[in-house]
């Protein structure tokens, strides 16, 4: 999985979510649309937040929803959702959330490349806002394409 190769199906732009659970479920639906997971995975991502709190809001405006590998993960994948109105997840510093990424992996190993790419993109503090304001999938891909794959 590489960021610039993500299929159109996993992008949802300008979605409306009344609360954080809805935002995570929209991202889960995008994973299902992309053939990455089955329906059950979205609820497991919600449960991670219910159990451990809003730590998935890892930077201002940006949530990385995820759950452990499981039979509901068909292959490694990532979904990208932007919200029409920011949503509060309950993080002490990084709320409200404008961009929800949803990560699904089949094992605890082997997804280092995509995470290093995400780090390359979001080390730029403007990246979240640039994605939130994008109106086309191509514009989001352009931001994600700033990742320079590590040799």
């Amino acid at each position: 999985m590489r960021l610039h190769e993500l299929p159109d199906d996993v992008f949802v732009l300008g979605a409306h979510a009344p609360d954080w659970r809805s935002a995570v479920r929209i991202a889960g639906d995008a994973l299902v649309a992309g053939g990455v997971t089955t329906d059950a995975y979205a609820e497991r991502m919600v449960q991670v937040v219910e159990e451990f709190g809003a730590y998935i809001v890892i930077a201002p405006g940006l949530a990385l929803a995820h759950a452990r590998p499981g039979p509901d993960v068909l292959h490694d994948g990532l979904a990208v959702v932007t919200l029409d109105e920011p949503v509060v997840f309950g993080h002490p510093h990084n709320d409200p959330v404008e961009v929800v990424l949803a990560l699904a992996v089949t094992s605890n190993e082997g997804h280092v490349t995509v995470l290093a790419e995400l780090a390359n993109v979001f080390n730029d503090p403007m990246a979240t806002t640039a994605i939130a304001q994008a109106t086309t999938v191509e514009a989001v891909r352009a931001v994600l394409g700033r990742a320079q794959p590590e040799a």
Binding site: I58, A59, L115, A119
Partner: protein, 90 residues
């Protein structure tokens, strides 16, 4: 030296924290092993760790430890990571 990057599920957020902590350590010229782990693996992983990196939300899940617990607000902010690691390891 060993540093733990800690998250609820042991994938995703802790792995991003690990990647960025490695970049911060490189800035500082410090050699350390960074291990990403989840709550189930934390107690064992932290036995010989000097520092545990965690989100503010997760600090309450860290039990008794001799390691320094360093709270990271923005996992992508290399300046924050570098500053806090320098204090913890200095």
């Amino acid at each position: 030296m060993k540093i733990i990057a800690f998250c609820g599920a042991g994938i995703g957020t802790s792995a991003i924290l690990k990647v960025n902590a490695e970049r911060a350590l490189a800035r500082l010229g410090i050699q350390a092993d960074i291990e990403a782990t989840d709550i189930a693996g934390l107690a064992v992983a932290a036995e010989d760790a000097q520092v545990i990196l965690a989100s503010p939300e997760l600090v309450k899940f860290i039990g008794k430890t001799y390691a320094d617990v360093v709270v990271i607000e923005n996992y992508f902010d290399l300046d924050e990571l570098t500053r806090k690691l320098e204090i913890a390891l200095g």
